[in-house]
Amino acid sequence: MFRRLRAAGGEVTIHVDGKPVRAAAGDSVAAAMLAAGFTALHSSAVSASPRAPHCMIGNCFECLVEIDGLPDRQACLTTVAEGMQVRRQMDEAPMEGAGV
């Protein structure tokens, strides 16, 4: 869905769900993931629908991912770092007890 106007330069490599993703130094984790072709970053709490970054400035919390073992980090407010381990928070089933 997105492309880079110039090559990332590959200054930084992060890992998303175990796979290496090249990013430009200074990228937010969310930007790096979108540029690498990830569409959804997490799934919603109630219906487990796929969700993607919506605001990119820290308000919508739709870019929540696990970063270096810590869940629910805002990927749009976190800058990539070499070797960073990112896990998408995709649940296949809705949260138990979510009655709607």
Binding site: F2, R3, R4, S49, P50, C55, M56, G58
Partner: protein, 474 residues
């Protein structure tokens, strides 16, 4: 670090924050600027230093020159700068809680200036939670921050000056813009332009807008005015946009949908700090009540820039300057006469930069149907997936203020803490009950306004020694 004190702590390194920090430091105040980003600029001047150095600023347009000046002045001002600082608490007594790369910490300032700027007004239309739907400003952020642009056809829907600018910036970067769907009625645009006195037509801002629209037409980007009932379709991602225009229904395929209905003050911190807020009917938003210096109802708290009401980046810098002067006066650095004298040029600038605002507010005012959903299945609260139908039922059962509706439905209880549903919830309650939105009120926002890892919080235990007494609970 636990007993860190400053004269002035500023939250946000956009135009207001940078200008305020510069002025305050020049006046000898011990000033710290806290910002979530890793470089100064805020949203409007995001990544400005890099963009200028690399020559990429040219393609974005000539709107950003002032940002370079502000960033340079700030860098040379001597104010302390803490990039990567996520502020999750500001207190009326001057305490500030934040998380930075080293962990969570508390600090204290004799005065706090909130320069938290604006956010895009949420646009709750059917399908707005699908991947492939974002704010127009979000796409612009990707472009400015990382040089990342859509590689699928982009459809932009809504109202506001930013729509035209983003369309142009993306088109100049080689993106395919499949349509601009403008939700403001065509008659309003034509009517407002016709009413304009000649003098106003000469205004630079207005000419700029007219140039944008001309360039959009020249580039052959299809532009439709008077669009309503925008609906995004798709299963796991946006695939098409359905809408009405000229009395008939239309449907366009879309790879990426950008929504925008203007910007509103980001008031999460000012609300949580219990500053008094007022409803701004001209701008259809809540804003902290401020005096001509940005002072709020809370003695130690000031607000400057778009966070106090939308006036744009140039006015924000003037407001930051004024708030810093008032801080210097209140803290005994300068006298009242000197404050007022130094404020003169900023006041003149502010008046000049604000002149166009009433026109913009009128021209781009979101229609109720564009931002207050009627379709029962439309999601109001993205986090807890609360629909219009569920909200209506809650309101009918007595959820006539946002905090009761929240208890009934969980709207506003998810990770975003009501940032994305708050404006809609208030407007929905007002519409359903017939009450004025100013009596309906807002969510009560509590700290921490951003998530803080438990480990980081645990590291804070016992760290508050040396800080003024106050509530000890978070």
């Amino acid at each position: 670090m636990s007993n860190e004190h400053h004269d002035l702590a500023i939250v946000g390194a956009g135009p207001a924050g940078m200008a305020a920090a510069t002025t305050a430091a020049e006046l000898g105040l011990d000033t710290v600027l806290l910002d979530e980003q890793r470089v100064p600029g805020g949203q409007i001047y995001r990544n400005i230093e890099h963009l200028e150095a690399s020559g990429e600023l040219v393609a974005l347009g000539d709107e950003y020159r002032r940002g370079i000046e502000l960033a340079r002045a700030f860098r040379g001002s001597g104010a302390a700068y803490r990039p990567g600082s996520i502020v999750w608490q500001t207190s009326p007594d001057g305490r500030i809680g934040l998380t930075d790369p080293d962990g969570a910490r508390m600090m204290h300032a004799r005065r706090i200036l909130l320069a938290t700027g604006a956010m895009e007004r949420p646009v709750p239309v059917p399908g707005w939670t699908l991947p492939g739907v974002m704010g127009a400003g979000a796409a612009q952020t990707l472009l400015k921050a990382s040089g990342i642009v859509p590689d699928v056809p982009v459809l932009i829907a809504g109202s506001g000056p930013l729509i035209y600018l983003v369309a142009l910036q993306l088109a100049r970067a080689g993106c395919a813009i499949s349509a601009l769907l403008i939700t403001a009625p065509a008659s309003r645009i034509a009517g407002t332009l016709k009413e304009l006195p000649r003098a106003l037509l000469a205004g630079r801002d207005l000419l700029k807008g007219i140039r944008w629209i001309n360039e959009i037409r020249r580039l052959g980007i299809p532009l439709t005015n008077g669009v309503s009932r925008v609906r995004i379709e798709g299963n796991d991602r946006a695939e098409a946009v359905a809408y009405e225009a000229d009395g008939s229904s239309h449907r366009l395929a879309a790879g990426l949908v950008l929504l925008h209905e203007g910007v509103i003050p980001n008031i999460q911190l000012s609300l949580s700090t219990r500053c008094r807020h007022v409803w701004d009917e001209a701008q259809l938003c809540w804003r902290p009540e401020t005096d001509e210096w940005g002072a709020t109802s809370e003695e130690r708290i000031a607000v400057a820039g778009d966070g106090a009401g939308i006036l744009g980046a140039l006015a924000a810098a003037s407001l930051g300057h004024l708030a810093a002067l008032d801080t210097a006066f209140r803290l005994g650095r300068i006298g009242e006469a000197e404050r007022d004298l130094r404020a003169r040029s900023a006041r003149a600038d502010l008046a000049r930069h604000s002149r166009i605002r009433p026109l913009l507010d009128r021209l781009f005012r979101p229609l109720p149907d564009s931002v207050v959903p009627t379709d029962p299945e439309t999601i109001v609260c993205r986090c807890e997936e609360v629909t219009v139908a569920q909200m209506r039922e809650a309101i009918r059962l007595g959820g006539e203020d946002p905090n009761r509706a929240k208890v009934f439905t969980r709207c506003g209880m998810g990770p975003c803490q009501g940032r994305m549903c708050g404006p809609t919830v208030g407007a929905l309650i007002a519409r359903e009950t017939g009450h004025g939105i100013e009596e309906v009120g807002t969510f009560r926002i509590r700290v921490p306004v951003r998530p803080v890892p438990l480990m980081a919080l645990a590291g804070l235990v016992g760290e508050e020694e040396g800080l003024p007494a106050g509530e000890s609970t978070l």
